[in-house]
């Protein structure tokens, strides 16, 4: 039962991340491969505040959200000045830079050995160490996240973002502010990552840089692509499927040194196959 519950919780956290990536990549059309880095910032900020400073989880969560919003806006600023291919380089660079910070700023992040013993949050006097309690919290966060996402999609703001993806110049020509639209999208996407990162650290009570590296960013893009870009259903199906996949691979008897690369290999194959034969994913719209 606990095994199933932890699958649900992890899937819920990754659904929040997929929504965040979907907002940037799918809806606004900013190809970002550094979303795992932002996720990492959220996880590290919240975890080290609760672990080292003894802040309550709620306050640390807010701090993590603020940090992620600021960072994601800063990271997406180059996309306002440089377009297309230049931004891809910027995005890869940001991912490498963040990984370097996570690995080398040992006094704050614990270096490559990570941060162990992150306290589990206490909500209304209830310890959420048991997955059965934690699942309520993550489900609550997910419902709020999905509601916001759906509201944004249907609002004029959502349509503006879609229009920016289709044709930036046309949007500017009818007098809408492209810059503000992109910044708002990045900020919202950062808030999702902040929540997801905080929950991730609190649930596993251990984080290390390997959860937030380039491979993790590729996983996030795969989730959006497999599920389908630009829809909420897509961002739910993708993570639910891809988080479940390693559990299925665990039943096949392969040595653990190959299991990691093989899993990533499967993600790569999924990316290529979907891009070739079904760019809209399982439940998405045209990318």
């Amino acid at each position: 039962m606990d095994f199933f519950l932890s699958y649900i919780i992890l899937a819920e956290i990754y659904i929040l991340l997929a929504l965040s990536t979907n907002l940037l990549v799918g809806i606004t059309g900013i190809f970002s491969v550094s979303q795992a880095a932002v996720f990492g910032v959220g996880a590290y900020v919240c975890s080290s505040l609760t672990l080292n400073e003894g802040w309550p989880f709620g306050v640390a969560l807010l701090a993590a959200i603020v940090c992620c919003v600021v960072i994601n806006v800063l990271l997406s600023l180059p996309s306002l000045r440089v377009s297309g291919d230049y931004f891809i380089v910027t995005s890869f660079g940001i991912q490498f830079l963040c990984t370097a910070v996570f690995e080398n700023w040992s006094s704050a992040t614990g270096g490559t050995s990570g941060l162990p013993g992150i306290p589990t949050p206490q909500i209304f006097g209830l310890h959420t160490e048991e997955p059965a309690y934690f699942v309520w919290m993550s489900t609550f966060a997910l419902i709020i996240g999905c509601l916001c996402f759906q509201l944004v999609l249907r609002s004029p703001f959502g349509r503006l973002l879609g229009a920016i993806r289709e044709d930036e110049i046309a949007v500017a020509a009818i007098g809408r502010n492209v810059l503000r639209g992109k910044i708002n999208a990045a900020a919202l996407s950062g808030a999702y990552s902040g929540v997801a990162g905080s929950l991730y650290g609190a649930f596993l009570s251990f984080i290390d840089p390997s959860s937030f590296d380039m491979q993790a960013s590729i996983l996030l893009v795969s989730m959006v692509v497999v599920g389908g870009a630009r829809t909420m259903a897509g961002s739910i199906i993708g993570p639910a499927f891809l988080i479940g996949l390693p559990q299925l691979l665990a039943f096949v008897n392969i040595s653990s040194s190959i299991a990691g690369p093989l899993r990533q290999l499967v993600y790569g194959v999924l990316l290529v196959v979907f891009m070739l034969f079904r760019p809209s994913g399982l439940a998405g719209k045209r990318l």
Binding site: V33, P78, F92
Partner: protein, 287 residues
């Protein structure tokens, strides 16, 4: 003395980076496609050479065989991967994601077959030190300079003096007009990918001989190389080569004040500064 040593090392590293950069510039300036999977071809090159050496083939022959394999891989990627995507009218975003997926497949395929551990060449004469003007220069460093200048000269002659070079320039400037003039852009693209992949095998093998083979390192080198390409103003092979040397020198000199694990940060800050002040690159004509 240390500064002089770092300066010389920087120039030499710049020749290696420059070789990667011109191979990528050739592909990018002709096809206008940010070929992320080039990092995979780069990694693959070293593993090809290593496999041939393990099989008992003498070193220089192994390099030639590796180069031939890379050429075939590059041509195959364009013919059987990008052309089907183009035939389906894939948007740049879709092509980008597919290319990222291909990179994940190549890197993790290598990791699954050859393990994630660092592999090394057993014997290698490049470690021998030759004092040049009081500075200890290794054989590998001399080879780097020869390789860099050789690859540069090869590409210059190819693009200026041969029929294929003229076709490449024609397709690069206007694929539509080129097609009318009986130049087959699809065929030229295949050649461009083959030549670019062929060249990138050399620095790959050299870096592997010096520092060992790692499956996940390619992207970092490619990002450095593409920063040099963008900084030079896109599309000029001479510019890309010169800026690569400049970039490597700056990176090396920064070691005087910044520890080496942060050198990605230094590169990246240089890139951001450049994007802010000269977004068209150093050698681009002023508008």
């Amino acid at each position: 003395m240390l500064a002089l040593q770092l300066l010389v090392d920087g120039i030499i590293n710049g020749c290696v980076l420059g070789t990667i950069s011109i191979s990528f510039t050739l592909i990018y300036s002709t096809t206008r496609m940010f070929h992320v999977a080039h990092a995979g071809v780069f990694t693959l090159g070293a593993y090809f050479v290593w496999t041939f050496v393990q099989a008992g083939v003498p070193g220089p022959v192994a390099v030639v065989l590796g180069v031939a394999c890379c050429m075939a891989v590059g041509a195959a990627i364009q013919r059987y991967f990008y052309q089907p995507l183009a035939a389906r009218n894939a948007t740049p975003l879709v092509v980008m994601i597919a290319s990222l997926g291909l990179l994940a497949i190549i890197e993790n395929g290598i990791a699954a077959v050859y393990s994630q551990n660092v592999l090394t060449f057993s014997e290698w004469w490049g470690k021998a030190v030759v004092p040049v003007g009081g500075l200890p220069i290794t054989g590998a460093q001399i080879l780097s300079v020869v390789m860099g200048l050789g690859a540069y000269a090869f590409l210059r002659v190819l693009s200026q003096r041969t029929l294929l070079g003229r076709k490449i320039r024609a397709v690069a400037s206007n694929p539509f007009l080129a097609e009318i003039a009986q130049v087959k852009p699809k065929l030229v693209y295949i050649w461009v990918y083959a030549i670019g992949s062929m060249i990138v095998c050399l620095p790959s093998a050299l870096i592997a001989a010096e520092f060992g083979l790692r499956p996940y390192n390619g992207l970092l080198y490619l990002i450095n190389a593409s920063i040099a390409m963008i900084a030079s103003g896109l599309g000029s092979i001479t510019g890309a080569f010169v800026v690569s040397i400049l970039l490597a020198v700056l990176q090396n000199l920064s070691l005087l004040i910044v520890p080496s694990q942060w050198s990605i940060g230094v590169t990246f800050i240089l890139f951001i500064l450049l994007m802010l002040f000269r977004p068209r690159g150093l050698f681009a004509p002023a508008r």
